[in-house]
């Protein structure tokens, strides 16, 4: 039986919840509500007249090739950021899980990048990728590759993917490591005795047993790639060259802040909001069922 606190005064629970509710209201519901409201409006070029246009902003959005292009960018970007950061983190976690000397130091070092703000991380990556001052950039040019992510859209995408994935690796690493350490050692020993090679043990025992962790991280990483990477893109490429790295969140920002098209920007925000709600709903549904076993 779960213990419950009984309040005699009906008002007290609400009072205790009030600060939390107030914060949620001021910082989430209110701006979200505003975004939804603005997404139904249109302002003229000088911001003087505002008219109610219903769903027209949304209709236009989905007919706008630039918007669809940025949606595709987001898909490509999120796919690779999620794949790279999870795969690398899993690999590192498997290495750290073996009881090697200095594993503690190794783990600590791996966690550091997470403490670095994306914008700062981006600067670090500039020092690596910049065609004139970057270590790798200069090296690539010297061996004859036309490296300039400021001109080449594909290279720009590669750079923002690498920088974002790098930023997200420690988070994934921690969860994977915890997941690995919760697998009983004797189960792996049993598999070894049953004749499974290290590789087979990984794919038939470790990986399936990690699936709840993997699924959780999958959703978290997609959400991160959608929303958390604004700083990296802004600092490294500003969505360029020629909008090659403009993702949905970056476009919403540009259209709202720079182009001052509040109606369209709000409609974009609403679409993003719905995406996140959908992802979270999937997450909860499956985590509740504990995935597979």
């Amino acid at each position: 039986m779960r213990k419950r606190v009984i309040f005699n005064d009906k008002g007290l629970p609400y009072l205790l919840l009030a600060p939390q509710l107030a914060i949620t209201f001021v910082f989430f519901f209110w701006p979200a509500g505003q975004a939804i409201w603005f997404s139904f409006l249109r302002q003229d070029a000088f911001g003087i007249r505002t008219t109610f246009v219903g769903l027209e902003n949304f209709v236009e959005l989905f007919q706008d090739p630039l918007y669809l292009a940025s949606a595709w960018n987001t898909v490509v970007f999120s796919f690779w950021v999620t794949l790279v950061s999870m795969a690398v983190a899993l690999g590192l976690a498997v290495l750290a899980d073996r009881h090697i000397r200095g594993a503690g130091v190794y783990k600590t070092l791996l966690i550091w990048p997470y403490a670095i703000a994306p914008a700062v991380a981006a600067v670090l990556w500039i020092f690596i990728f910049h065609p004139q001052v970057g270590l790798l950039g200069r090296f690539l040019r010297e061996i004859g590759i036309a490296w300039d992510y400021k001109l080449n859209g594909g290279q720009a995408m590669l750079v923002v993917i690498v920088a974002s994935a790098w930023n997200q690796i420690p988070y994934n690493f921690l969860f994977f490591l915890a997941g690995l350490q919760s697998i009983p050692k004797s189960v792996l020993e049993a598999a070894a005795i049953d004749g499974a090679s290290a590789q087979r043990r990984f794919w038939t025992v470790i990986f399936p047993l990690l699936s709840p962790t993997t699924f959780f991280l999958l959703v978290v990483n997609i959400v991160f790639a959608f929303f958390g990477t604004f700083g990296v893109i802004d600092a490294l490429t500003k969505g360029g060259p020629a909008k090659a790295t403009e993702t949905l969140i970056y476009k919403a920002y540009i259209d709202g802040r720079v182009n001052l098209d509040l109606g369209s920007s709000s409609a974009q925000s609403v679409v993003l909001m719905l995406t996140v709600i959908l992802l979270t709903a999937i997450q909860f549904r499956y985590i509740e069922r504990k995935v597979h076993y």
């Binding site: 009983p184 004797s186 189960v187 020993e189 049993a190 598999a191 070894a192 005795i193 049953d194 004749g195 499974a196 090679s197 087979r200 038939t204 025992v205 399936p208 047993l209 699936s211 597979h292 076993y293």
Partner: protein, 371 residues
């Protein structure tokens, strides 16, 4: 089915020396039980045989082939773990079929073998379940099944019964013994429960602090323990030990507690007055006055139903435990007891068993005749 040989197995974890040279030869189809107190190195020894640990020194030979350097997967052995170590995400069927699939057996054969083994263990109707949907006893059976179905050269059991309740443990013990006889697979069984050890083993290895103190059949170990550690470890309640010295040219022991007892089996080697430890099992001590009896001052009586355990002190201050069926004295009273000479075990001051000289001569003569 194969023989197993261990030669001079040593194991250290860093500076901790856990095994100090274990030698053992196991015959085909034999069930060896490794028994000893917690932390004596039983699991470590088993894991070395399995290949889960590497010995610091020594060799492991299975079916005549040196496997010391081989990975567990190349040793063709099966192991039942204390916590069963079932694959939590696989059904009972897949748990049992895992090793067979790796071997690349045809699907139909895998199905047939798993079904047959499951029926043998009475878990035929559980094949679709996941481990978390099973009771402890059923999991235990699945773990056994997973080991049996592969028909390995060697079974290793690491305290497989210690997570079961007392009743189920007795039942599974009998079942394991029956199975092992029927399948005839060479087995090593680790336990710290001496009843389990006595009932299961063809031979026992009594381990103590990383050494095999004695390797022999259960009855030999009970009848002639090699030293005081083994003597005290096997048998419940534990054997009593009394200080004594050798007198009458080795023909008798003079107890510190008073009486002098002439040995039933003849003269024991050692100088006059050499210190001895005399051991006697609680159930062999008899009540009775007369010459050679000792006054036992009773301080606790534990009735066990059919018999009672009587704890008391001798005039020397040494404690003595007696198991008797026909007598339950009051605490505080004095009970005269007799130690029958035929039931005495004689050890030297270091605790090593001393045999009577005459018997040793007889064995030597028998050896000469055999040769």
């Amino acid at each position: 089915m194969a023989t197993l040989e261990l030669q001079g197995i040593r194991k250290s974890f860093g500076t901790t020396h856990v095994l100090h040279g274990i030698d053992l030869a196991v015959a085909e189809g034999e069930m060896i039980v490794i028994v000893g107190a917690s932390g004596c190195g039983k699991s470590t020894l088993l894991r070395i045989v399995a290949g889960l640990e590497t010995a610091t020194e020594g060799r492991v030979i299975i079916a005549g082939a040196d496997v010391t350097r081989l990975e567990p997967k190349d040793r063709d052995i099966a192991m039942v773990f204390q916590n069963y170590a079932l694959y939590p995400h696989m059904s009972v069927f897949d748990n049992m079929a895992y090793g067979l699939k790796i071997r690349g057996l045809p699907k139909a054969e895998i199905r047939a073998r798993v079904q047959q083994t499951a029926d043998l263990l009475g878990i035929g109707q559980l094949l679709e379940r996941k481990p978390r949907q099973l009771s402890g006893g059923q999991r235990q059976r699945v773990a056994m099944g997973r080991a049996i179905v592969r028909e390995p050269k060697l079974f290793l059991f690491d305290e497989p019964l210690s997570n079961l309740d007392a009743k189920l443990r007795v039942q599974m013990r009998a079942e394991i013994k029956r199975l092992q006889r029927r399948l005839g697979v060479t087995s090593l069984f680790v336990t710290h429960d001496q009843v389990e050890a006595m009932t299961l083993g063809d031979r026992l290895v009594v381990m103590h602090e990383g050494r095999a103190e004695q390797v022999a059949t259960p009855m030999e170990i009970w009848r002639a323990p090699a030293n005081t550690y083994v003597a005290g470890f096997i048998g419940a309640p534990a054997m009593n030990f009394l200080a004594a010295e050798l007198v009458e040219g080795g023909a008798a022991a003079k107890l510190k507690a008073g009486a002098t007892i002439a040995f039933a089996d003849g003269v024991h080697p050692g100088g006059e007055g050499a210190p001895l430890i005399v051991g006697i099992r609680p159930e062999h001590i008899q009540a009775g006055s007369g010459p050679g009896s000792l006054p036992l001052k009773v301080d606790l009586v534990e009735p066990l139903g059919a018999e009672s355990l009587i704890h008391g002190a001798l005039p020397s201050g040494e404690t003595l435990t007696v198991r008797m069926s026909d007598c339950s004295p009051l605490a505080g009273s004095v009970l005269p007891v007799v130690l029958p000479p035929a039931s005495l075990h004689v050890f030297d001051a270091e605790g090593r068993r001393i045999e009577a000289v005459r018997r040793r001569e007889r064995t030597a003569a028998a050896g000469a005749v055999g040769a």
